[in-house]
Structure formats: C-alpha cells, structure tokens
Symmetry: C2
Subunit: 486 residues, 2 copies
C-alpha cells in the first residue's frame, strides 16, 4: 500500500494555514486516519512504525535505568478512583465509563483508565512492606482514554498510546532524582531523535498534574509560535501513598510513607515532530525515527528489468549494512505512476534520502541522490562507497534538522520586561516570552485572560534573580516561560 | 523485588489439585495478581517479561511475512458492530459497553473491542480499490475485553493482551495460504519456544469463530488430560467484505469482494506453558522464553565480598556472551534469606539453571550448577568453559522439555472406536480421543451433553478414511479430536 493511497499531492501550504496543512499531511502521507468515534484516530502502518522506533529507543533507556515493564487492567472501579481527592477532581470530567458488562448493568461503574496511578498504587500497597522492597520502578506501554472536547490528530485524541512509568522510593531525594532522570530520557528523544530542542522546567502550581506536588515538563515551541507541552514527569510526593496507605518499615523500624513519581510520553509527541519539521511538500522526518530512510525511485515509462535489478542491488546493499538509523529501504516502483508522482510521494512521506535510478546510472554503476531536507542533487560515482556515504548523509541531515529547529526556538524566544510588549507579542501569538512573574496565581490568571498565554514552565536552567512581576510589578525571583499553547 | 515477594513457598502440590496449584504458582512466583475488578489480572514484571519474549519472536515472524503493525481505536460504535450478523450474535453476550463520556450520556453506546474485525475492515473498505492495493496484511498488539462469566488467571480473563492479524487478499487461495502461515507461526512458538507439542486442525462448524467460514486451531493437551485451544486462525471468506463492501477491481476490470483472514495469539498461551511444565516445586520455564535463564545463588550467612565478587564475574561473563536464549542472569543475594530459601525461590520461578557460589568455588575458580528440570548437580572446573557450557545446557533443557511434553501428548491421545470406551475415558476426563464422527451437529451435541467432550479439531494430518461415527454409527470420513477443554 506504500505508495498507492494518494492520487495526487493536494496538501494545503504550511505557510498559508498550518492546521489545514497539518491534517492534510497526516492523512495523505498515510500516517493516520480518523476513527469512527469522534476524536479517535487510526494509527496506520506508516505512523505506527514511527511509534515503534520511539518505543524501542525509550524502552532501552528504561531498562538501562532498572525500570521493568508490566501490565495493569484498564478498568478502574470508580470507588478506587475516588480515593485521591485532587486526582479524581482533575480527571472526572474526562472519563469514559463502562456501565454494562455481559449484557447486564454493572453494580459499580468502571472508569476506562485516563492514567494508572490508582490501580497501580493500590497494588504497590500490597507489595511494599520493608525498605528492602524499594525502589519499585515499573513502566507500562498501553492505551489510555481522556474524553477531550476539542481534538486534533496526534496532539489530542480521545484514546492515545503512551508509556507511563510509576516508581516508589524510600526518600524524596531519590524520587526526585528519578523524576529528573525520566525527564532527561524524554529530552534525549526530543533532541537526539526528533531533532527538536526543548526547554526543561517545572510547572506552576495551577498547571501541575492532578495529584502531584510538582510537575516537571518538556516544552517545545512550534514554528507558528505556539508552545506544546511535550511530555511530563511528576513528583507525587506522598499524596498517593497517604491516600492508599503505601508504607514501609525503614532501616530503623519506623513506618514511613513511600515517595512516588510518575512520567509519561505519548503519541502526542509525534504531532510536535510533524509540525516542527514539515514543509509545503509534506513531512520531513529525521533519519533517527524515519520508518523509511531511503526511497529508491526507478525512472521508467514501462518497467525496465535492468533498472529494477539495479534498484534491488542498492536496496540489498543498504539493508545489509550496519546503520545507526533504523528505517527500511524501499523501492518506489509503481509503474502506473509517473516518476514525478513517485518523487512527490517520497517527499510527502518525508523520506530523508531519495535515490533515482535510470539506465544511465545502471551503465555508469553510479548513484544519483537527493535530500528531502534541502535541495541538493549529486552522484556517488563508486558503488562501493554507497553504505558509508548514506550513513554520513543521514547523520548530516539529522544534525542539520536539529540546527534548523534550534534557529526556530531562538527566533521564537523573547526576553520581555514590560506588560505592553508582552501583550503586543502575544497578540501576534508568537513564541516563548521569558518574563518575571511573582508566582501569584491571580497574576497568572489575569495574564491568561488578557493574552491567552499560560505559564509553560520555570526552566531548570533559570537562576534566581531580582526582578519585578511583568503583570503586577511586585518583586519576583525567576523568569518564567509564557506562551499560547496547543 | 525479584526475590522478596514470598515469605515461604507454600504452594499446593500439582499432583493433589491442579487448579489450586496453578493459582498458587502464578501468584507466589510473581507472574501475576488479581485486579480489583472481577476477572481482571495484573501482569507483574516477571509475567510481562515472558510476554515480551513471545512478542519479540512473533513480531519478527510477522515482519518476515510482510505483515505491518498498526493501531486501531478500541471503541467500536454499536451500529458498526451490528453490520455482520453472526459476528455480533457471537460477541454481544461478552461485550463491555461505554455509555458515559466526559460526564454525559452518549447518544450511541460504544463497545470496548472484543476483537477488531469491524473497526479495521470498515477502514479497509476505504483503502482498497484495485488489485494493486492487495494484499493488505496488518497486525495489532493490543488489549481486548470479553465479559466472561468464569475466569482463570491467564487462561480466561476479562481483559487480555494479544495480537490480532487481519489480512485481505484478491483470491481465496492466497487468503487460505495466509491462514495456514499464521497457524505455522503459532506452532513454532508452541513447539520451539514453549516446548509444547500441538495438534493443528480445523474446527467443526459449531466451534468456529463468529463470522468465519472456517476456523483453524492449535490444540494442546494439558497434563490433567484437558485440552486447551491454544490459538486460532480464521478463514473469513467474503463474509465481512460483503457486509462492509470491501471490493476491488481485478486485473480484468471486474469488481470483486476481497477474501479475508484473521488470527490471534494471546497471553492465554502462557497458561498452557505453566500447566504443561510446572511441578510441585513451582514453575519450570523453557530457556527460550524464561525471563531469567540463570540464577546465581551465593552461599553465605552474612554477605561475603569475595563470594559476591565472584557471582558478579559469572553474571558479567554470561551477560556479555552471545546467546540464543534471551533471558537475564540474576544474582539471588538477599542476605535476609537463607541459602535454602533462595534456592526454593529460584525453583518456584522456574529458572532453568542455578549456579551456587561458596568460598570453595571462589578458591577453585569453579562453577557448581544444577538444573531446574531434573536433578543433576555438577561442576564446571574451568571458568573459561562457562559460556559455552551454559549455552549447551540451555539447549539440552529446551529439547528435553519438548521430549517430556511429547510423552504427555502421546500418553494422552487415544484411538477410540466405540462409544462405550469413549464414555469411560471421558468419565475419567482423560486426554484427546481420536474418533470417527459423521460431522452431524446433532451427534456432536449429544456427545457433549453426555461426556462433556467437545470436538477440538480435525487434524490437518488426518487422511480421508472409511469409518463409522462413534456416536450414531453412520458412515464417517475422518477421525476428529475430542476432549474436555479448559
């Protein structure tokens, strides 16, 4: 099905309308489609292959950190859900609820998990008795449901795929270390795999997770100047352990509540990837996660056996070479479609490198290539150089994409010291504004009402300073990141 | 947490009561636990690691067969579900239904998927237009819900993890080839990984999947003489393509309905694994899927640094050696527990090889080992031989387990030619009975009522013959496998 879904490339220009462009690109490149229930999404093979690459990378990080995978049921009895007050308050408006099972009305309705704190931690209470049982570090790869009113493909869907890590520790210090370690794993995926530079920080009290003491966040800026909460890691303190009686005997025989954290990374992150790098011709995927890393495109009117054989030789050579980039090599040989159409298709799908093969290449034993990221046609004149050159190109493209995205981040980050400028910039809807804020929820609220900008985070790099709140003028210690957000 | 969950090994003897033994072993070895909702199960890290090993093996097979992974939403509108008559009739008594979303009553209730035919195939109808779009071969790794009245850990749970493959082809021949290919992948997992010999066959009309033309099955016999439907692969014919209008233009420009198949392999299979190989001391896991392949057990009262260092050296040496067996190497060094307790723990968990390390081993630079499968204590006198020897042992154990299970299968399979013997054997509840059956549903029904035995399958190896139905005496062409089943 690879190259047969789109009869012609008719996507909206990104420069004209980002949100139309976004939906067009996702549907037409074959990443995903709308499900029959409002707000649900079908992750098609091309989109799912991206997620598999991310899963593989993250899963290896988790395992290196001693985190084990497990699976907990998705149905949570409402009575269990109600045990942590701020948690249920935060999630109850978003729940899908099963009321019928096996043809009968259930005596107790079941929530479909929006997240698994409650169902996991009630089990932790049974597992943990002594300091010797700690830490518990468990991750789940699963699906969750949040009944969102407004949905977007990938960025906000009713059901989505993610991982959720849930740890219990003997001390707050150890728990906080885990919170930050998870945050750094996520940073690595964004920066080293997605080629998206991010800001790591802590959320304000009003923006934190329902049930957390503090929420740490990875924030990214999209090319349209809107911020995206890329993923989060929560310091849950002892809120859940007190609500569910998860306690242990410490080394001195004293009973203590455990310190907990949870952290999640979802298919939402792929939305950031498409938005950041895509262009008017479609997706632009970084080599580290691209499901197809090289498209080999034969130039022919009718099928030409010599040409196809040479394509196959290139494919085999690249497939069999060791590579730091996990994508497949594919031949785009649908003879029903013109060469130009097939080139467009490879562009739409964001494949990093294209290799065009005509009779001339066969005769010269050469390779003609071009890049998706920037215009650049060239030849490799010795076939033996192919694997090494392609590996170099992929690395070069990956780095260049990261540099480009850093430029976007820089161009969209502004130091702002007065509210007039703040409002003006926000009226244009543009970027991260770094402004002093007194940390009073009243000012945060007013700023949101007047400019649609929310506090994104206080960066972990931010040093304490002497400043004045951009809104009320009272003394403030830190600059915060503000932005309008997806 | 590895070796801290069980204070003492107090499992029921398998020989005394298989079902009590089964639940004890699963809970106490740390494979799984009961979820808070009746019939749901928590797959703990040890149990999930087994499933990950199976996933990895199956996923590689699927990909080698050109099957791509994807993800479809789990909520299916009831109106969509109702479009294939026999499908909805089969599944409606087992549905969990969401009626509330985001705090409001839904205008249309949503079924939580018990299987994904309907939601996938309505999408296939949009994807498939021409013979060039075929075949479509897609797999999902996901969770499904079936509201079962009687549940058992692993064998029958309300929610379970599985994969479901769903293909569409231009011809029935090609589709049937895929049905059998999937069946053979499953056979490989059972025989080569689980070390369980199986019978491949076709189900009777009354036992087939709701919506299928024919259901192909993998059947196994448990040591108590009860059969287990290990997994199935369905020839769906054109039933769904006609109900959902999935048609294509063939090479002659004629519109045709596609031919479809679906096939699934679930965590239920792990129940068969535990039942087949376990013994009075706990699990016995085959090396190919065992999450821990070697348990290194230091012999000490108090911690001994020299001994621990030597354990670490053994662990590193084995971890760094290439191996056909994917499990971890773990040191059981909980100094709060006696050496004997830790040996029992390794036995309970079914770890194929144990290595005991005392001061004598350190001084002699030797390795003392024993096997889980059969009593056998011995020494490797040269440290350098360790990796090769362990690899040999693992292979030897894997083969021996398969041989043992073959003996069980043989001992539990009986050729039966008269109904008196049939009834007697079934009264004892024992094994597969291979008997001629006229294929009349009335006889099948009567046999079930009178003996609790159901038709398991007609083996693919069964040759046509001349015989008499074991029940009615009318002429019959094939012997069928009958058994009482889990």
């Amino acid at each position: 099905m690879a190259n047969k879904q789109v009869e012609k490339n008719s996507i909206t220009k990104k420069s004209e309308n980002v949100s139309d462009w976004y939906a067009d690109v996702i549907i037409q490149s074959g990443l995903a489609d709308y499900g029959p229930v409002r707000g649900t999404m079908i992750l098609k093979p091309y989109g799912y292959a991206l997620w598999e690459n991310v899963q593989k990378a993250l899963d290896a990080m988790f395992k290196s950190g001693g985190v084990e995978n497990a699976y907990f049921p998705m149905f949570i009895p409402m009575s269990l859900f109600n045990k942590e007050k701020s948690h249920i308050e935060g999630f109850s408006p978003e729940l899908a609820v099963v009321t019928i099972g096996g043809g009968e009305q259930l005596s107790e309705p079941l929530a479909v998990r929006p997240t698994s704190e409650m169902i996991m931690y009630q089990e932790y209470a049974k597992w943990i008795h002594s300091w010797r049982d700690l830490p518990v570090k468990i991750n789940q790869w699963n699906n969750v449901v949040r009944w969102e009113k407004r949905t977007y493909l990938f960025l906000r869907t009713l059901e989505f795929l993610w991982q959720e890590g849930h740890c219990a520790h003997a001390t707050h210090e150890e728990s906080l270390e885990m919170v930050l370690r998870a945050l750094d794993w996520y940073r690595q995926i964004y920066e080293d795999f997605y080629a998206i530079p991010v800001v790591l920080g802590v959320k304000s009290q009003s923006e934190k997770f329902a049930g957390a003491d503090s929420t740490y966040t990875v924030e990214a800026i999209m090319p349209d100047g809107k911020a995206l909460q890329a993923c989060t890691s929560h310091d849950l303190g002892q809120n859940f352990s007190k609500a569910l009686s998860i306690s242990f005997q410490d080394k001195n025989g004293v009973s203590q509540y455990v310190w907990q954290n949870s952290w999640g990374f979802s298919t939402r992150s792929l939305g950031a990837l498409f938005l950041t790098h895509g262009d008017d011709s479609g997706l632009v995927l970084p080599p580290k996660v691209a499901p197809i890393k090289v498209a080999i495109i034969p130039i022919f009117g009718k099928k030409d056996d010599q040409v196809l054989k040479y394509c196959e030789k290139i494919k085999q050579t690249l497939t069999n070479s060791p590579s730091a980039y996990p994508g497949r090599i594919e031949i785009f040989d649908d003879s029903e479609k013109s060469f130009g159409w097939r080139v467009n298709e490879a562009e739409l799908k964001g494949i990093p490198i294209k290799i065009a093969v005509g009779i001339r290449e066969v005769q010269e034993k050469a390779i003609s290539y071009s890049f998706r990221l920037f215009a650049m046609d060239n030849k490799i004149s010795k076939f033996e150089d192919l694997p090494e050159k392609v590996e170099q190109f992929l690395s070069q493209i990956q780095n260049q994409m990261f540099e480009n995205a850093k430029t976007i981040l820089r161009a969209n980050t502004h130091l702002v010291d007065n509210y007039e400028e703040f409002k003006e910039r926000m009226l244009a809807g543009k970027g991260f504004l770094r402004a002093f804020w007194c940390e009073d929820v009243g000012c945060e609220q007013k700023i949101k009402e007047e400019t649609k900008a929310t506090t994104r985070c206080r960066s972990l790099d931010e040093k304490e300073d002497i400043g004045k709140c951009v809104y009320c003028g009272k003394s403030a210690k830190f600059r915060w990141y503000f932005a309008q957000a997806y």
